[in-house]
């Protein structure tokens, strides 16, 4: 997969969708920024271009990131931390041309919301449920958005960077005591 391929795809997307397509960012695996409202149309267009399989759909919470993973535009400046946001990343693969591209959508951290692509790639259904389960991202138009790995009544979004670990679940306490704590308790009683 050459970088030239994703550059051509980027140009095609840019002419088709205009402002809905953001920057083309080169890192170890380059990606294309997409506005959240038009992700479904962009995804459908990519499928028509031959990207018939969705390899991976991941969500990322950039809170607390020290240096942005995308290269800085102004090289002279000190590397800065990125904006705090939730990102949803789509890794696509073409079984015809063997090309790969990645699309990235940046969302507001307080209410991350974007259209679902589960009608375009069947596998997105579970990936989106996982992103909802772990990050609380709402996918509009998803047939059954519910928790998938955690229990239905779990509270909070575990993979967010500000997640507070629960101390009890269903009346079972699971706060870890410092090692040897029970031994100390015994000594006190004596």
């Amino acid at each position: 997969m050459g970088i030239t391929v994703s550059k051509t795809v980027y140009n095609q997307l840019k002419t088709q969708f205009g402002d809905a397509i953001g920057e083309y960012i080169e890192t170890a695996s380059p990606f294309i920024e997409v506005k959240s409202e038009s992700i479904r149309e962009v995804a459908r267009f990519c499928k028509e271009l031959g990207f018939d399989s969705l390899m991976c759909l991941s969500a990322v919470d950039t809170k607390g990131m020290k240096i942005s993973s995308s290269p800085q535009e102004n090289k002279t400046q000190k590397p800065a931390p990125p904006k705090e946001e939730i990102q949803v990343v789509y890794h696509l693969n073409s079984t015809f041309t063997r090309d790969k591209i990645a699309l990235k959508v940046c969302l507001d951290r307080t209410s991350p919301r974007l259209p679902s692509v589960s009608s375009i790639w069947g596998v997105a259904n579970w990936h989106e449920r996982e992103a909802y389960d772990m990050f609380g991202v709402i996918f509009d138009g998803h047939p059954a958005l519910s928790r998938i790995l955690c229990p239905e009544d779990w509270e909070g979004w575990p993979l967010r960077k500000d997640y507070v670990f629960p101390e009890r679940y269903h009346d079972v306490e699971h706060k870890r005591k410092p090692s040897g704590a029970e031994f100390l308790d015994g000594e006190k009683k004596q």
Partner: protein
């Protein structure tokens, strides 16, 4: 098939011998016919991705072992590959050969488990004992190489943990010779057994369109006749140096994409892996096995790296913010994707055929739930 009784919802699992782990299937049945089978997962969820954010780059590797515990090396390799590409680390020649040898041994071991347990699912107990006898030999070799039997922590960033010396190479040569005499036995025992063919051929068909839509990879995709193997299609490491064929569904019995063909692809892959092993053991050069990396601290960036595991494409989406720990690790597991479309290809199957379908997809729940 038309039975029009009352719809009955049955729980199959999470403690059921043929769900291969803690998978619960919610079956909406009409007599013996399954109208819809909805997989309920998460019983083995350990939130590997959260743990990975709290340990050093090298510290993540043992966690990846515990995802797919039947084929641990494939997971290690995929994560390490992602980390190495981010950090621009190079691996010495001999290290690459050690990786190929361990990964191919692991693939055979994993396919032997698939072969044996699928036999049990179909009511044949003997093949399981044969498969585990032969798998034990691989585990012995891997134990010699890494010191562990199942969860190896063998592949490290920059190379491998210990050498594959001449003694181990001799063991592998003996194993290859031995395994080649066993494969015809396997075919006699199970592959061309009349009852087995009746139970699996034309049963549980996954079409190519379905497979691509649900991103099913590995042997399950190849059973539909599609030549897609990342070792050839998106080559990594030194796989371009070896001569081997991509195993695809033969359609000797049944149609492409059915349970029998999925099963058969794995047995052909064992043969092909033996070929790779034979060449690797012959070619292995002298030299160091690992690059000397004192502190691994890749520059900020992100990458999606993938390898061909025993169950399909194992992918890792890794983000670095220039710290000693990865900022985000997302594991794409092939079994998770294969299960996500289960409701579609299990429609209108008999309950007994559902077992054939599930057994031939060969899932590992540790990897589904992570």
């Amino acid at each position: 098939m038309t039975v029009h009784g009352e719809e009955l919802v049955i729980n199959m699992g999470p403690q059921h011998p043929s769900t291969h782990g803690v998978l619960r299937l919610l079956l909406k049945t009409d007599g013996e016919v399954v109208g819809e089978a909805l997989p309920q997962i998460g019983y083995l969820h350990r939130c590997f991705e959260k743990s990975a954010e709290r340990v050093s780059w090298n510290g993540v590797v043992p966690y990846t072992d515990r995802m797919d515990y039947v084929a641990a090396i494939s997971n290690e390799w995929s994560f390490v590959l992602a980390a190495e590409k981010l950090g621009n680390a190079t691996v010495p020649e001999r290290g690459e050969y050690c990786r190929v040898i361990s990964a191919e041994l692991q693939r055979i071991a994993s396919h032997l488990v698939a072969f044996g347990t699928f036999g049990i699912d179909m009511g044949a107990f003997t093949p399981f004992l044969h498969a585990f006898r032969d798998r034990e030999k691989i585990l012995d070799i891997l134990e010699m190489m890494s010191g562990a039997r199942l969860l190896y922590h063998y592949i490290r960033i920059g190379g491998v943990m210990s050498d594959c010396d001449s003694k181990i190479c001799e063991m592998i040569k003996l194993f290859i010779k031995d395994m080649r005499t066993r494969l015809p036995e396997y075919h006699q025992l199970l592959s061309y057994n009349r009852i087995f063919i009746e139970r699996t051929a034309n049963v549980g068909i996954i079409t190519r369109e379905q497979a691509i839509n649900y991103n099913i990879t590995g042997p399950n995709l190849r059973a539909t006749g599609m030549e897609w193997d990342l070792r050839k299609c998106d080559p990594y490491s030194i796989y371009d140096r070896f001569e081997f064929k991509i195993a695809v569904g033969t359609c000797e019995h049944g149609v492409s994409g059915d349970s029998w063909n999925r099963y058969m692809v794995r047995l052909i892959e064992i043969e092909e892996s033996l070929k790779i092993l034979e060449q690797a053991v012959e070619q292995i050069p002298a030299g160091p096995i690992s690059a000397a990396i004192k502190v691994f601290k890749p520059a900020p960036g992100e990458i999606y790296a993938r390898t061909e595991g025993a169950r399909g494409e194992i992918g890792f989406y890794v983000i670095s913010d220039g710290d000693l720990k990865p900022f985000r690790v997302k594991a794409k597991s092939p079994s998770f994707c294969a299960l996500s479309g289960f409701h579609e290809y299990s429609r209108n199957l008999m309950i007994a055929d559902l077992v054939a379908l599930l057994g031939s997809i060969d899932i590992v729940l540790g990897e589904v739930d992570r």
